[in-house]
């Protein structure tokens, strides 16, 4: 049972809510420029006390995207919503200010990430099976700490191994909206070329992942 705030006047009542198109665009821009996280349209509707529809806001967002085109800043949609970010051609300049802080990941980390991204949910054992080597805890910790993978459950098998999947944050970081936008898996060319016997191998491509 929480006590109501006794504060006299909430800001709500003080906003004059005459939303001209210019004003709507301005408010959207300020919200997106100051947001800490990508903002979904449902969230952006709060700016206008839900008075504007998703469709209307979507039109405005596209207009804003146009406006910022070629400014070195772009408005993009990622998994969790809309956000402003610098365009990639600006990064070399930004790196002059702050030396790149993100580590380049080792092959072990990248391969583990790829397996989790494309085959999720997978256990550590699954990853080891595919890579043919054991996966160090450090690798999984690196990805977990970055917020790119998380445990989504446990397989009902001896030892109840954790099942890993990629996070929404991972999609955001790579500018993706859904896992479908990951680069498609390549068909691998047969391992045994033109050898007589080898062609008889009943090779199948790995089952297409179902996401």
């Amino acid at each position: 049972m929480s006590v109501q705030s006794t504060l006299p006047n909430q800001p709500e009542t003080q906003i004059s809510d005459s939303f001209t198109p210019e004003r709507i665009q301005k408010i959207l821009e300020v919200a997106l420029l100051t947001a800490q996280e990508p903002l979904p349209i449902t969230e952006l509707r709060k700016l206008f006390n839900h008075e504007l529809s998703t469709a209307v806001l979507s039109k405005f967002l596209h207009r804003i995207r146009e406006k910022w085109n070629d400014s070195g800043i772009e408005l993009v949609t990622v998994a969790s919503g809309w956000r402003f970010q610098s365009s990639t051609d600006m990064q070399p300049y930004l790196d002059r200010l702050t030396p790149p802080k993100t580590p380049r990941y080792s092959r072990a980390v990248l391969e583990t990430l790829a397996i989790i991204a494309y085959r999720q949910p997978v256990t550590r054992g699954d990853i080891e099976e595919i890579r043919g080597v054991s996966v160090s805890s450090m690798v999984l910790k690196t990805l977990t700490t970055r917020g790119w993978i998380e445990t989504v459950g446990h397989r009902n098998a001896p030892g109840k191994p954790a099942l890993f999947a990629t996070t929404e944050h991972f999609l955001n970081a790579l500018n993706l909206r859904t896992l479908d936008e990951l680069p498609p898996l390549e068909e691998m060319k047969s391992l045994v070329e033109s050898g007589g016997e080898s062609q008889q191998l009943p090779l199948q491509q790995p089952a297409a992942p179902d996401y």
Binding site: R83, S86, S198, L201, P202
Partner: protein, 270 residues
């Protein structure tokens, strides 16, 4: 160096004792002096096998198994020191290859069913899947990445404190705080907390408040005309308690005369 595996050749793949190692051996044999480099270069036996097959058209069937086995065995001791697990994985791969080869050498009546159980199939399947994931890892790494290839916009929100928010509390907060206090008191037994009914306490405060305004009041004035019997009793108890605590003074100049109640306002000299 974009993965040793895919690099166009002339670069040394690694340096061993200062000398460039220009070529990777053509088979699974690892020169002893390059052992560590190898363990670092390849992600494991699958990776190495894949490399050999792709780059040198190594036929899985043509691997000189006996020789290889011998060489591998001689490294076991060496690897055991630091990378036992990895050594085991290479050995396991070798064992698998040997098994495959031996099974292939056995007379094998060609039936459809047998073909489906071609011992190479599973290995090749694994190799293909691993290769696919290796490629996927590269593609993934090529995607623009936040903080590496672009930076998020972050404009500060200016916070003018229009209203200072004050904390709210609930009865539950208060109750919890009180229970904490009581529990702690119970733990430190030397603190005796007198437990009285709350209403007496509340009325003690009220009486003091009334007296603060007037300094001296008639006894009856301390009782609200609309008070219930319980309230009258409690007020009376409150007055007695205050008197006991020397917070007020009750006086009567003569029998059956007016009873005055005066606050002993300790703050001001009377």
């Amino acid at each position: 160096m974009d993965l040793v595996i895919d690099s166009p050749d002339p670069h040394p793949i690694a340096r061993v004792c200062g000398k460039p190692l220009l070529e990777i051996p053509q088979d699974l044999y690892i020169p002893p002096h390059a052992l560590e480099v190898f363990l670092d270069t390849f992600q494991g036996p699958l990776d190495l096998l894949l490399y050999l097959i792709r780059k040198h058209n190594l036929n899985i069937l043509d691997i000189p198994m006996a020789e290889l086995t011998q060489q591998y065995m001689s490294y076991v001791d060496m690897m055991r020191m630091e990378q036992l697990e990895l050594a085991a994985e290479y050995l396991l791969m070798t064992a698998l290859l040997i098994e495959i080869k031996s099974r292939m050498l056995l007379p094998n009546p060609k039936t459809l069913a047998e073909e489906e159980h071609d011992p190479r199939a599973e290995l090749v399947q694994r190799l293909l899947e691993y290769e696919q994931m290796k490629k996927a890892a590269l593609r993934l790494n090529e995607l623009p990445q936040a903080e590496r290839d672009f930076t998020l916009v972050q404009v500060l929100i200016k916070h003018e404190e229009i209203v200072t928010l004050l904390p709210d509390i609930s009865i539950d907060d208060l109750r919890e705080a009180w229970i904490t206090v009581l529990t702690r008191t119970k733990v430190n037994r030397h603190h005796q907390v007198k437990r009285e009914t709350l209403s007496v306490r509340a009325f003690m405060s009220q009486v003091l408040r009334d007296l603060r305004a007037h300094n001296q009041l008639e006894f009856y004035d301390l009782f609200s005309p609309t008070a219930t019997i319980t309230e009258v009793v409690v007020t009376f108890l409150a007055i007695l308690e205050l008197a006991k605590e020397l917070l007020l003074e009750i006086s009567q100049s003569r029998d059956s005369g007016i009873i005055y109640v005066r606050s002993i306002n300790a703050a001001q000299p009377t």
